[in-house]
């Protein structure tokens, strides 16, 4: 039987005390780190309002320092910046959850507002700060940010995707950059030699990268301007069939340590072509010099047109924040008034297109070479989905395309079933 029933067998010695307090402090630090937030920003002035601002973690060097600098430059509020790590949907999901709590960030970036957030009164309309310059934004860029005629977010950066190709490798294989989906398949196959593959579209066979692009490139769309689900047609179905064909051709790099949005597979010579974003261009130039070119994702079928996404991030304001007016003021300062910040943020690190047309015209780094081509593709072939296309519909479409690609489902059957499900969701949103 246990003889010594005391909890501490020895009196608390100084060393033991230090051990305990030390581990408690460490534990506290770890717990604090779990919050994924690192403070930063202005040295606080008690007379000014304090604003919490959230960013997702951008990959390019210098971006974190840049946002801290912007926050510090602002003199009308104490801005505390949180740089939130996470891949895929982790950052947006964290924001979604935080918006429901009592300690939501005042200012935060998301890709788009949702109808449900507006219905629940979580986000603040920003028409008053954008009104005077609304015509200076591309209407396609405003589409995902506008709900019931009100603008709920100010675009910070425009993103787009395209196919990067290695000039020297195409030359060696004696092929031209592809201009149609069929050519993309044959060229990818011809470029595959040994461990170098023709094309990289992500480790999931291109579902995440190309589900939307293929639909648009086939001349289709997902939700029409009069709020109808329209992706279940033969053109779109054929496009997904082509994706299956592309994957089966042996020309696609099936896996790499990074996802499609990182150019490593391309710059390290694993593939001769890669679907990636404009943001990666400075890194690619650094790695390959001028041994690369860009093409838009080619048209699929006779009714198709090349396509890209009109993506990016937009700044929003929490409606239940303590300093809504100050938050709006800060958003206006950053993304409407301050052209230096907008140019620095858009072309200083990775490449993006400044959302304000007048400011995009000033960005000298986007005026020549592949960057200028990319801007042209965005303006000519850019598509976006409206806020009525929500995350549930996105999951439904992704599942359908995955089923077509991975489980050999009949494309038209899978799309019809997905369209039914999307319709049910759409009716809920419209009600």
């Amino acid at each position: 039987m246990a003889q010594d029933q005391r909890l501490f067998t020895t009196p608390l010695s100084r060393r033991r005390f230090l051990q305990y307090t030390g581990s408690m402090t460490l534990g506290g630090t770890i717990l604090a780190a779990c919050a994924g937030t690192s403070g930063g920003g202005t040295t606080s002035n008690p007379s000014l309002p304090t604003l919490q601002q959230w960013y997702h973690q951008y990959g390019e060097t210098g971006t974190h320092e840049a946002v801290l600098r912007y926050a510090k430059q602002y003199s009308k509020a104490n801005v505390k910046v949180s740089w939130v790590p996470g891949t895929g949907n982790e950052y947006p999901n964290k924001v979604h959850a935080a918006l429901l709590g009592s300690n939501a960030p005042d200012v935060f970036e998301l890709q788009n507002p949702t109808v449900d957030q507006v219905k629940a009164g979580l986000i603040e309309p920003l028409d008053d700060i954008i009104a005077s310059v609304k015509s200076d934004f591309n209407p396609v860029a405003l589409k995902p940010l506008t709900i019931n005629g009100k603008v709920y977010a100010i675009k910070m950066i425009n993103d787009m995707g395209m196919i990067y190709y290695r000039k020297s490798l195409l030359q060696k294989a004696g092929v031209q950059p592809p201009t149609t989906m069929d050519e993309l398949i044959t060229v990818s196959k011809k470029l595959s030699k040994g461990s170098v593959k023709g094309l990289y579209i992500g480790p999931d066979g291109g579902v995440n990268a190309l589900s939307y692009i293929l639909g648009w490139a086939a001349g289709g769309d997902f939700i029409s301007d009069d709020n109808k689900i329209v992706f279940n047609n033969d053109n779109v179905a054929t496009a997904y069939e082509k994706l299956r064909e592309l994957n089966a051709s042996g020309g696609v790099l099936p896996d790499a340590p990074t996802f499609w949005w990182d150019p490593s597979a391309f710059t390290q010579g694993l593939s001769a072509m890669q679907w990636c974003g404009l943001w990666a261009m400075p890194g690619i130039t650094k790695a390959l010099g001028d041994d690369f070119g860009v093409i838009p994702f080619p048209a699929v079928g006779t009714q198709g047109k090349p396509a890209t996404f009109f993506g990016g991030w937009a700044e929003m304001v929490a409606a239940k924040g303590k300093n809504v007016a100050a938050a709006k003021e800060y958003v206006k300062y950053l993304w409407i008034d301050n052209s230096n910040i907008q140019i620095d943020w858009n072309v200083g690190y990775g490449f993006h297109v400044p959302p304000r047309l007048s400011i995009a015209a000033q960005a000298s780094k986007l005026k020549s070479g592949p960057a200028a081509q990319a801007v042209g593709y965005l303006n000519q072939y850019g598509h976006a989905t409206p806020p009525l296309w929500d995350a549930a519909m996105d999951t439904t479409l992704t599942d359908a395309v995955s089923n077509i690609l991975k489980n050999g489902a009949n494309p038209m059957t899978a799309l019809n079933r997905a369209a039914d499900k999307c319709n049910t969701e759409l009716q809920t949103l419209l009600s």
Binding site: A2, Q5, L7, G88, N89, P92, N93, H96, A97, L99, L100, T114, D116, Q117, K119, A120, L122, S195, G202, P203, D204, G205, G206, V207, N208, S211, L253, P254, D255, A256, P257, F259, A265, L270, D390, A391, A392, D394, T395, T398, D399, V401, S402, N403, L405, K406, N407
Partner: protein
């Protein structure tokens, strides 16, 4: 029969872990309390007088008695304080982080709650009907019932085998025990990333593919190719690597509780070492450990999330999507909390049913 709910089962897992590793659990705290009390009472027992007592002595004795009663009271207050300082935080934690959310989730499951945690309107069983009519949710449930049917026996047998091996080692037993237990301390996310990006990467330089290359085989895209379903190899190995240690420890704890006399008696009676003693002594004596491992395992299989979420991303998700990942998409990406809660309650009910069935057949919690 004991009603065992899924969330407390997770606590039970912690409880086992603590018990097995540090040797301190809640039952132990109860025991401490009881022992401390008997110890104090014994110490303060008044001296028995042999002869008759004078009134003065009587008074003294009474005073002495009163003092000792006070002392006992003070002491038992102290032990109560110690007791609650151990148990209190756990009860508060359970209530705040488990019971209230479960209750809230139950309420939300009957409501329309999109982008809000307060019910915006009641929909009755609408969420449940929609969820049970959702082919993707049903597919996730079916996939994970099959997954459970495979992973549970595999984990059980491997953990038992490992425990027997480690327990029979004559030297450096502590070392081997620690080595096999260490992966338990590794984060699921970290292990998943290592498995996905390094060991089973589909490119030619992934570890598994490098090994294949050296023997002249073509690389395989382990995670993304649907046919043959190599991704199960990736998912099962990472889960086994992470989980075996803790279950092994439970079995070792069970093994060390088996009295040596049983084996000695059996040997005297002519039993042979090895299979015969294992079959008739070790395994029956491990009954409680086995049942515990089985229950924890089934629940863990249905609650699978981390490695699936991290390894099967994008278009690969559909190949092996656990119910929890599906519900995570609904609740956190789409912010449809009512619908997601209905799914969570359905999953909870399934786990409870499985646990009860097991309890009935295996007699978990039945007194010996």
């Amino acid at each position: 029969m004991q009603w065992v709910f899924p969330i407390p089962m997770r606590m039970l897992r912690m409880h086992f872990m603590v018990h097995a590793t540090v040797g301190l659990d809640i039952r132990y705290v109860f025991k401490i309390r009881a022992n401390v009390q008997t110890y104090i009472l014994r110490k303060d027992e008044p001296m028995k007088s042999v002869g008759t007592t004078t009134p003065a002595e009587m008074l003294d004795l009474r005073e002495e008695n009163q003092k000792s009663v006070q002392r006992v009271r003070r002491q038992s207050l102290k032990t109560a304080l110690i007791f609650w300082s151990f148990v209190g935080p756990m009860i508060i934690g359970l209530t705040v982080f488990f019971y209230i959310p479960i209750l809230w989730s139950l309420i939300l499951s009957f409501a329309d709650a999109r982008a809000t945690l307060t019910p915006a309107g009641w929909v009755g069983l609408g969420n449940y009907r929609a969820m049970l009519g959702d082919p993707e949710f049903i597919r996730a449930l079916v996939t994970f019932t099959i997954f459970a049917a495979f992973i549970v026996p595999t984990t059980l047998l491997s953990a038992l085998g490992l425990a027997l091996l480690v327990n029979s080692v004559k030297f450096a037993q502590g070392f081997f025990r620690s080595v096999f237990f260490l992966p338990t301390a590794c984060s699921y996310v970290l292990a998943s990333i290592v498995w996905k990006m390094s060991i089973f990467n589909g490119s030619s330089f992934g570890l598994a593919n490098t090994v294949r290359h050296t023997v002249g085989l073509d690389p395989i895209s382990w995670i993304s190719s649907p046919n043959p379903p190599w991704y199960w190899l990736v998912l099962v190995t990472v889960r086994l690597w992470l989980q075996l240690g803790i279950y092994m420890i439970i079995f070792i704890a069970g093994l060390q509780e088996i009295p040596r006399e049983l084996y000695e008696a059996a040997l005297v009676d002519g039993a042979r070492r090895g299979w015969q003693t294992f079959r008739h002594i070790t395994f029956p004596m491990l009954r409680n450990a086995t049942i515990a491992v089985l229950l924890l395992n089934v629940i863990a299989a249905f609650q699978a999330f981390d490695e699936f979420f991290n390894i099967m991303s994008g278009g690969n998700q559909i190949l092996a999507r656990p119910p929890l990942v599906y519900l995570y998409n609904i609740a956190l990406s789409d912010q449809n909390y009512g619908y997601g809660s209905a799914g969570a309650i359905i999953l909870t009910v399934i786990i409870v049913i499985f646990t009860l069935i097991q309890g009935r057949f295996l007699g978990f919690g039945r007194s010996e």
